[in-house]
């Protein structure tokens, strides 16, 4: 950025500057840089306060009401970080930094430090642009012992749909939606479920029948579109195959369960760890609780006899006995069904539930094999969060998994901007450190020499 002295020199040119020079001079202005940083910071604050949602107007209007919601949608505040005006502010700041870095700078050692700082930011921006232009970002969801040769990238489609019902009758044509594997695109259907949907990809070349290529997410108040794995829209061939040999979830040894007892008038519930045979006094009047039996996988047979179907905590239940002045009573408590407790068998003034805290996930691993197009095995690897796998131009990251089917979702990227971004990452702190600590030393030395 330009210093005060430079401004003074620049403001008295011998010739009237041309339009381009005036623009560059304006971009070089430190005042502009400060205003842009302040505007970006202010807009970012707004972005953190308003829920960032899909581009569709429906959720914003439902959340903020018709008037405020429409304003939010109009200004794009519900998807602020991808709006043209926010990206424009970032672009303008990048131009301002570029003008400061490359325009009219006399390359002295002192100025080099600031130049490194600004140039490193430009490198990061250039890397991000290169990723956006030439990179690919998608997902691949693979079931156990299944193979995929493609990944899916979010794609814009045109949707024609009509619905008729108690909420009204409406027909919509050529509405644009972005589809991704992770989130269903929600149609703004004002409380009715669409009865026919036709989806066309952006080129308009192919029309897909929804039940063939899409899962239609039908809830009480909405109709949605979601990628299915078989969809051809947005499918990018990898040039090789990925087979999920196994998917392993490992847990910490921290699963625990307890009875939570709340006495009438008490501010906090009392937690009593499960221990079969243990008797715990609950009240001074002699009311006590005893844990009789524990079944990790509670089941009842045709003779109404209770048993545990396995040692896995699939339906943990504990039988307790209350004793005291009110007499004796027994009760089964279920962690999955806490509302079942307390119907007649729990003493007056006591609320009780059985709480099961499942083990925390420690790690989840995709054991994969890469096969070439001919089906020959090339390499085997384990992909974990923080331990991606690079195959050719693509990198596979462990994103998530389906806890029921244990299908693994991998983030797949091809990012040619990495070298630029990492060069910027290395140079930025070096430039800042030199500007803060080496420049004053040089200035002091210069003054001393003079």
């Amino acid at each position: 950025m330009k210093t005060t002295d430079e401004t003074a020199q620049a403001s008295s040119p011998a010739q009237k500057p041309g339009a381009i020079r005036r623009v560059i001079r304006g971009l070089k202005s430190i005042r502009l840089a400060i205003i842009l940083m302040a505007l970006i910071a202010a807009a970012s604050i707004v972005g953190t306060l308003i829920a960032q949602e899909p581009v569709e107007p429906g959720p914003a209007i439902a959340r903020y009401g018709r008037v405020v919601g429409s304003l939010v949608v109009l200004l794009g505040l519900n998807h602020l970080y991808v709006t043209w005006w926010f990206l424009g502010l970032l672009g303008l700041l990048a131009l301002s930094i570029a003008a400061c870095t490359f325009s009219g700078v006399r390359f002295t050692l002192r100025k080099t430090f600031t130049l490194i700082t600004h140039a490193s930011i430009l490198l990061i921006v250039a890397g991000a642009i290169l990723r956006g232009v030439a990179g690919v970002d998608g997902n691949a969801t693979i079931g156990k012992r299944q193979t995929t040769a493609v990944m899916h990238v979010p794609s814009t489609v045109w949707v024609d749909y009509k619905y008729a019902g108690s909420g009204g009758e409406r027909s919509v044509q050529k509405e644009s939606h972005e589809l991704s594997l992770s989130e269903p695109a929600v149609l703004d259907n004002a409380g009715v479920v669409a009865d026919s949907i036709v989806v066309t990809d952006l080129s308009g070349a192919t029309t897909y029948k929804p039940k063939v290529d899409y899962d239609i997410v039908e809830g009480e108040n909405r109709t949605g579109l979601q990628y299915s794995q078989s969809s051809a829209i947005g499918a990018v061939p990898l040039g090789f195959q990925v087979r999920l040999d196994d998917f392993v979830v490992r847990y910490y040894d921290d699963a625990h369960d307890a009875l939570e007892v709340r006495l009438q008038g008490a501010a906090k519930a009392r937690s009593i760890p499960r221990e079969v045979g243990k008797v715990v006094q609950l009240r001074p009047d002699g009311t006590a609780i005893e844990m009789l039996r524990y079944f990790p996988d509670f089941k009842m047979d045709e003779n109404n006899k209770f048993y545990s179907a396995s040692n896995e905590p699939l339906n943990p239940a504990v039988e307790v006995r209350f004793t005291g002045p009110a007499g004796e009573s027994k009760q089964w408590l279920f962690s999955k069904y806490p509302d079942l407790a307390g119907h007649g068998s729990v003493p007056e003034g006591i609320k009780i539930k059985y709480v099961w805290h499942p083990a925390t996930v420690k790690t989840y691993e995709s054991h994969v094999t890469i096969l070439d197009e001919g089906g020959r095995e090339v390499q085997s690897a384990v992909i974990l969060v923080n331990s991606p796998l690079k195959v050719g131009p693509y990198t596979f990251y462990q994103l998530s998994y389906d806890p029921e089917t244990l299908a693994s979702t991998l983030e797949v990227t091809r990012d040619p901007g990495v070298p630029l971004v990492f060069a910027g990452f290395i140079l930025l702190p070096i430039g800042v450190a030199l500007a803060f600590y080496a420049k004053p030393l040089l200035n002091r030395k210069g003054r001393g020499d003079a």
């Binding site: 950025m1 330009k2 210093t3 005060t4 401004t7 430190i30 005042r31 840089a33 400060i34 940083m37 302040a38 970006i40 910071a41 970012s44 604050i45 972005g47 953190t48 306060l49 960032q52 970080y81 991000a128 970002d137 910490y252 921290d254 925390t360 996930v361 420690k362 790690t363 989840y364 974990l384 969060v385 923080n386 991606p388 990198t395 990251y397 462990q398 994103l399 983030e411 797949v412 990227t413 971004v421 990492f422 990452f425 930025l428 702190p429 800042v432 450190a433 803060f436």
Partner: protein, 283 residues
Amino acid sequence: MHEQLWTISFAIFLAAVLLNALQAVLALVMKKADRAADSAGWLRWMRRAGNVLIGLGMIGLTATIAAEWRAIGYPPFSNIPESMLWMAWGFCGVYFVSRIFVGFTGMELGASLGAAGILAVSTLFPQGAHPLMPALQSKWLVFHVFTCMVSYGAFFAAFCTAILWLAIWRQREPQKVLDVLAYQLMAFGFLALTVGIISGSVWAKQAWGRYWGWDNKETWSLITWFVYGIYLHFRMAGAQFGVKRENLPLLNAIFAIAGFAFVAFTYFGVSYLLASLHSYATN
């Protein structure tokens, strides 16, 4: 073990507060009475003793972190009180480095009050270590959180300096204290935050395949970075905005206080008020 060490560290910082408060009051009284406070040997010894106590407190913090790390088997960053241990450590480190270059009456008091304050505030948050979730199991964890906490410590030190200057020393040592100390603290904090944000981006790339996701914590870190970036540019070209050189200390104080409000919101506000991928510390 680490709980006892924490208590010992806190007690040492409280003792440092008492000793340094006494030293500062006596120094001010002597200055007011026109006596040569600086040359009074016993006051200098009190000051040294105050620094020794702060140093002992910092050693106690180091031992607390090491003991907790050993006890839970992973770096203690899993909740707010654990991360505040690192912030207090960074604050003390920044103080001792600053102390090499600058010295003024009450600096020790500010440092011991700040460190004790951080530890006291940490008790307001839920305790108890959480197991590290898969995304946190990375070699970048220590480096990323450490650099961020050191930057927060530096910004907090700048905040304390600004408060001290506005409350007490504004008429006495304006240039020396603020133009040097507060600026240097904010510059160092900015550098550390830059490294913290970059290391977080590299880590995010390794974990999720993207550097930046506009998560609320990431965004507020960037906002904080911009606020201090604005300050550094504004300070450089204050004349363009009509700021006179003699008003630079006041500008430093305003930004040190306002900037720390952004730091505090990024640290606590985002964790408790906004949804964030980084809110595992409060879960």
